[in-house]
Symmetry: C2
Subunit: 364 residues, 2 copies
């Protein structure tokens, strides 16, 4: 294995070696100089990480403040971030943190036409994978009713930070008929009312929001989410609120208020009830689960082409979320796929609800 | 000044000396052996702190689990905790943390018949002070419409941890016509339906909840709050949510769900809307204030008998909440009192809203 500048992160405790099948690769566990967390060095190539994008909470001032040139507006899809790349004669999917995702790697041939990576072996596809059949998060867009779908939103080249320009990316998306996020066109910072109307429509349609990418050399990016996304995130996770940082919930309530206030939302009374219902109905569900089964958990159901990848996923989940917190229910062939069902235990919520439903004291 | 076992806390960094007028006294900044945080040694006497009381989140199992004997049920009033004691020829009011509270000390003669402390100079009155005219917290019970009121809920003796038995306390309350918390009688752990009905009535009346005190030598205590209290706390503080730990809000939502679920709340749709409205309406208020005045703050208005105590309060507030965050608006005589008006700046919320309303980025 050749040595790259990223190997210098090892003595700083910002990189470590990982094994996956016959691969050994280096993963940045932290940002190191210009390379984001999740950058990897594998088979002598560097695949840069996908850095987090700053969020604006107000449209009008945010556009004015963030953009010095027109910008592309694309849908932000509610799923998990992967990078697909050809390594040797395999296509591997890397998670945000730089792990190889056994699920996405397994299903990649179903999710996109991978011929592009044969013909352009130095390309990296940056994409969101979303849907009820994914193993990581509990929410998904309402318009994806089963399994998962993939949406390309950027392309990189191996060994290079930064992304292909929008026209080049779009040409490749069209040429290979790749599934991609919707593009809502190129806008200028003064087109506030158009974008306000777009955000209202996306909220109506149950979409998470937009990522905006400046059409300039600096390629500055920012994101903005809809009121729908704020409420839906709370609804989807409140049943395990003790397993997440409290800031997760408070931050979404704040985003929601700032979004609605700027939109001059007419249906405010509806949103009040939706927010209250997102919090309370999810907690009732958790209380009911705790009373019935003495634990709070979520069952995931994922399809695999190769059952070995299902086992690799469980191993990966056990490592990242705690061995005792992931339990296989079944792994069986059904039609063309192996169906993996597993429970993810919400340990903190299980402990807390068990304690207080049993009459225990809490101090705060 | 005589030396007490509490002085041994000094080398452990759990006690420090404080000055107030001509007094120098020792204050426990942390629990030390059996003495709670806020215990003080002044004028050769030890006044024990008022320890925090564990909370149950469920009535039926909580009563069964916590109490081995009948218990007294008293109203928990939404205010701040003080201990009133005679020191030399003065009555001083100590805050939960063991500071001398200049406001309560000033107003003590208005709030209770202090003759009890002349005739029983070793008594300490433990009380809640509540109302819109108090300097510390922003919420108050809806049934106190102006200024403040005091409610005695326990009595201690100087130099002794633990409280006077309920009959002895109640006899003294009656004898001196002291304002005291309402007592809802002596109950047994199996009287679940009576207490459920009581909690529903207290929620209706806008009361915070109850403290329950076992009628036994161990005098075990626990508290339980109403749905009203959970929503009202959020409504009263969400305008400065970044200045409080996020757990403050998440904890109250969880309490609310557990309370309602146990009560089998019929009016659930109302509570959903109230919860959503508590979050959103308070945040709109903060956004409006930030847009209009570039800061988020709360104005307190307190009455004083002696203007020197008003100055002492401001000095105390500046020390405990940050010098730049407390600003006097006016201090003027009106009728029998000096009116102090001051603003408490919510610095974190001011900073965050200024940043995001101006179009700044946030990373999370």
């Amino acid at each position: 294995m050749s040595v790259s500048p990223l190997h210098e992160a090892i003595p700083h405790n910002k990189a470590r070696y990982e094994d996956y099948e016959h691969w050994q690769f280096l993963r940045l566990t932290d940002k190191f100089h210009e390379a984001p967390r999740g950058s990897v060095v594998i088979h002598g190539k560097v695949i840069y990480g996908y850095p987090s994008i700053g969020r604006i909470l107000r449209l009008e001032t945010g556009l004015k403040h963030q953009f010095h040139a027109p910008f592309w507006v694309e849908e932000k899809v509610d799923g998990y971030n992967v990078r697909l790349a050809r390594v040797g004669d395999q296509v591997l999917a890397f998670s945000r943190g730089g792990f190889i995702c056994p699920f996405t790697t397994d299903r990649a041939p179903d999710l996109a036409e991978l011929r592009i990576l044969e013909e352009h072996p130095d390309l990296v596809l940056c994409a969101e994978v979303a849907g009820p059949g994914q193993p990581y998060i509990s929410g998904h867009p309402p318009y994806i009713r089963e399994d998962v779908q993939l949406f390309v939103f950027d392309m990189m080249r191996m060994g290079q930070a930064g992304y292909l320009p929008q026209p080049e990316k779009q040409a490749l998306v069209r040429q290979y008929a790749l599934p991609a996020v919707q593009c809502y066109g190129r806008h200028t910072p003064d087109q506030v009312s158009e974008l306000r109307a777009l955000m209202a429509r996306l909220a109506e349609e149950g979409r998470e929001g937009v990522v905006m990418k400046e059409d300039s050399d600096r390629d500055h990016r920012t994101k903005l989410v809809t009121s729908y996304s704020c409420v839906d995130d709370i609804r989807g996770t409140v049943d395990h609120l003790r397993d997440l940082p409290a800031e997760y919930f408070v931050g979404r309530v704040l985003r929601l208020a700032l979004f609605l206030e700027e939109q001059g939302e007419a249906q405010l009374d509806d949103v009040r009830r939706q927010l209250g219902s997102a919090f309370l109905d999810g907690l009732y569900r958790a209380i009911e689960q705790s009373k019935q089964e003495q634990r709070v958990y979520h069952t995931h159901r994922c399809l695999f082409r190769d059952p070995e990848n299902a086992k690799r996923l469980l191993k990966h989940m056990k490592r990242t979320t705690g061995h005792a917190h992931v339990a296989q229910r079944r792994l069986e062939k059904e039609g063309d796929y192996y169906v993996l069902e597993f429970d993810k235990l919400h340990a903190a919520m299980t402990g807390l609800l068990g304690h207080v439903l049993g009459g225990g004291l809490v101090f705060d």
